[in-house]
């Protein structure tokens, strides 16, 4: 390289193509994304967060929660469950087909639907469904997202770009000193629990390493009547008698934001079969 201009040109070209690819490319492709229909439903996703939750995101940003928490579920793979939904006209043949897959099934009518194969490949699931339907039964394939994050119960599928459509700033985080929060509203969806956890993490999670955010709360002398918002804290964490802990607006907004974190619907780009609650 002969002179400064050549160096400039080299750097310009090298950085320019990466700029075109990553910055412009992603903005052109992902920037136009909008709401999408949830799979097998007419619901739109994602819906805008409620007002308090949108303000809570700003508290999340200001306190730097993303320094320790991520909001991204990593999906490692995808597997299939085969679920027998109807025996059809020839239960004996279906039973034989199911037995051939290594599962047993009882005669009771409400035994269905029953999972006869779990965590198999798509090809395996297709073959099993075919063998059941050729015996006259009906079977469904349930899509299951797999990976350590999902096994931990942090989420039900990998996070996709659409999950963050309404968030500004997007707080993906880059360190898991604490658990992932992408779907925390679905597993810990109680505002009171979240407030207790923010004020005194150890009062609800034994051995928690999270720092308490007491500065988001006010310890006040109880006036005429106790405040309806005051936290009901267990003994070692409770304030002195005659005092009560009242969450500030910031704390309530932050809790509302945490509760609003739901990434648990199937989308075209992240398909899975939602678990049906069986109580």
């Amino acid at each position: 390289m002969k002179n400064g201009f050549h160096v400039f040109l080299a750097a310009f070209v090298a950085l320019g193509i990466s700029w075109l690819g990553f910055v412009l490319g992603s903005i052109l492709q992902l920037g136009v994304e909008g709401q999408a229909t949830v799979l097998q439903s007419s619901d739109l996703y994602p819906v805008q967060r409620p007002g308090a939750a949108t303000m809570g995101l700003q508290v999340y940003r200001a306190e730097g929660c993303a320094a320790c928490h991520t909001e991204q579920i990593r999906q490692e793979g995808v597997a299939c469950d085969v679920v027998l939904t109807a025996m059809g006209n020839n239960p004996a043949a279906v039973k034989k087909a199911v037995a051939g897959l290594g599962a047993q099934i009882s005669d009771a009518t409400n035994a269905l639907p029953k999972t006869v194969l779990s965590r198999v490949s798509k090809a395996g699931a297709d073959a099993a469904t075919a063998s059941i339907s050729s015996a006259g039964g009906t079977a469904e394939i349930h899509i299951v997202a797999t990976g350590p994050d999902i096994a931990r119960g942090w989420g039900v599928r990998g996070s996709v770009a659409r999950d963050y459509l309404w968030d500004d700033p997007v707080q993906l985080g880059n360190l898991r000193a604490g658990p992932d929060l992408a779907n925390v509203g679905a597993r810990l969806g109680n505002v009171t629990w979240q407030l207790l956890h923010l004020y005194a993490p150890q009062s609800v999670v034994k051995g928690s390493a999270m720092p308490p955010f007491r500065f988001l709360f006010r310890v006040e002398k109880i006036g005429g009547a106790p405040s309806p918002d005051a936290l009901q804290l267990p003994k070692p964490f409770a304030p002195a008698p005659g005092y009560e802990v009242v969450p500030t607006r910031d704390a309530r907004n932050l809790a509302a934001y945490l509760v609003s974190l739901h990434a648990d619907v199937p989308l075209f780009e992240a398909p899975f079969t939602p678990e049906v609650s069986t109580k």
Partner: protein, 494 residues
């Protein structure tokens, strides 16, 4: 600038032109390094005793940690690198520093920008984007200041006598060009006209890889090559032979071509082509890293491994070794299969810290301690402390980044194995304790570095005051004495 005058005389004049800008750049930088490491130590206390700052909003971990990081990166690394770039351009151009007012103004604007940005983070006004936490005010100041200093650097570069470029020219010129582009892109797309949704994260990842890896590598390797190959006035300089020149050129091209494509984590919530492209970029980034390692090894072999006494060459060899380690860690983070295990753990944090504090800071501190005596015309105030500082930095970064890297791998494996989350956190804690010890070493080293810089500033100010008083009494004699002193100082520095 008179070609007939003795060379030492010219050298002293050239060096003297850098005094005020360098004191502004390095003095503020040293201060921010101490501030940044203090904030980092305060932040790390939260992990040892979670409720230590529970009642104090501005000392919460989520504010302290980004503030510490930004104080070190923006407060120290960038201005110190700019100062050293100015010095190297002066040396390679055999010229004085041109437009010296610009770096003086630039340095003050820069430090003001860092101050404003840090205060905003601590009062809860961070932007929430990793490594770009400064709000508009701070970032506009930083951008303007960088341009001012870069203009002076380009002017000095243009005044060079030999047309042929030194290998460190390539790296440093590219670094001067790289930062304004990535910094303006990131700030425009994140703050001025914020892009939607996850694009924000993509822009931030792009910036982080291009700044914390590519820019730091360009600056640090550029400085390192100058001291490895030697400048035009260096009697011992062997200069690069053809082979080394080729290897350096190859590493330069591969670094800017492939390094710029890194940074999108594997498994990120973006369409698969982004992480896939980034994985290819990361795998190819191993090329510049191995090439730099082989250039450094050759340089050591040709000039012989002199005992390490904390001189610039010694700092640069240690710094290059840390760069190679950090680079391999960086590539591992970007690789499929390995990356997803370690990337959301302390390992990624350790990689960034090793790159900034292990590689760039050590290279820059070594260079600054070598160049300041020549600029100021007198030796370091505490030359012994500079050596102690060198070893404190080395041991500190090994403890700090090493412990976190090992802890991070463990954390990643445990997260994969579905161990209960409390166990995962608990298993990292012993490593974290070691890392805080390393931070204390680094903090002490930064303190010694700042002592030397401030000592020199004070000594220079006192000498100036003294000569002013003397001049008031006997103007003629003082000028003659000053000339002799400058010549003597220059000789000693060599």
């Amino acid at each position: 600038m008179n070609p007939t005058s003795p060379e030492s005389q010219t050298g002293a004049t050239n060096a003297a032109s850098c005094r005020v800008p360098f004191l502004a750049l390095f003095g503020g930088g040293a201060l921010w390094l101490v501030v940044g490491l203090t904030l980092a130590i305060l932040a790390s206390l939260t992990f040892h005793k979670p409720d230590i700052f529970a009642n104090c909003a501005w000392l919460t971990y989520g504010r302290l940690q980004p503030a510490a990081n930004d104080a070190i990166v923006y407060g120290f690394c960038v201005p110190a690198a700019l100062g050293v770039i100015l010095w190297i351009f002066c040396q390679l151009s055999e010229s004085e520093l041109l437009l010296p007012l610009l770096p003086i103004v630039g340095a003050n604007l820069w430090h003001l920008g860092v101050f404003v940005g840090l205060i905003e983070i601590l009062i809860g006004g961070s932007t929430g984007f990793p490594s770009l936490e400064f709000q508009r005010g701070g970032s506009v100041l930083l951008f303007a200041a960088f341009l001012l200093i870069a203009i002076s650097a380009f002017a000095t570069f243009g005044a060079r006598r030999r047309r042929e470029l030194h290998p460190s020219h390539w790296f440093l010129l590219a670094a001067l060009f790289w930062f304004p582009w990535i910094y303006s892109t990131a700030n425009l797309f994140l703050m001025a006209w914020p892009v939607r949704g996850v694009c924000q994260a993509v822009v931030d990842w792009w910036f982080c890889a291009n700044f914390l890896f590519v820019w730091t590598a360009l600056a640090g390797i550029g400085v390192g090559l100058f001291y490895l190959f030697g400048g035009p006035n260096d009697e011992e300089a062997t200069g690069p032979d053809d082979n080394q020149r080729f290897l350096t050129l190859f590493s330069f091209w591969t670094l800017i071509l492939f390094g710029a494509w890194c940074g999108i984590p594997q498994g990120a919530p973006v369409p698969a082509w982004l992480p896939a492209l980034s994985a290819v970029g990361a795998a190819l980034t191993i090329l510049p890293i191995l090439t730099i390692a082989s250039v450094a090894l050759r340089a050591v072999r040709t000039r012989g491994a002199a005992p390490c006494r904390g001189g610039p060459r010694c700092s640069i060899l240690f710094g290059t070794a840390f760069f190679v380690i950090s680079g391999i860690m960086f590539v591992a983070l970007g690789c499929p299969h390995i990356g997803p295990v370690i990337e959301l753990t302390w390992f990624a944090f350790a990689q960034t810290q090793l790159q900034i504090l292990g590689f760039l800071t050590i290279v820059l501190c070594g260079a600054i301690c070598a160049l300041m005596p020549r600029v100021m015309g007198f030796d370091l105030v505490f030359p012994r402390l500079a050596r102690v500082r060198h070893w404190l930095f080395i041991s500190g970064i090994v403890l700090f980044a090493g412990a976190l890297a090992v802890g991070g791998i463990l954390q990643g494996l445990k997260l994969q194995s579905l161990a209960p989350f409390a166990t995962v956190t608990a298993s990292v804690l012993p490593f974290y304790r070691v890392s805080t010890t390393g931070l204390l070493f680094l903090w002490l080293g930064a303190l010694l570095f700042a002592l030397n810089i401030f000592g020199m500033t004070l000594k220079w100010k006192l000498a100036r005051l003294h000569s002013c008083l003397a001049w008031l009494r006997a103007p003629e004699e003082t000028i003659a004495a000053a000339d002799t002193a400058a010549a003597a100082g220059n000789g000693r520095a060599k």
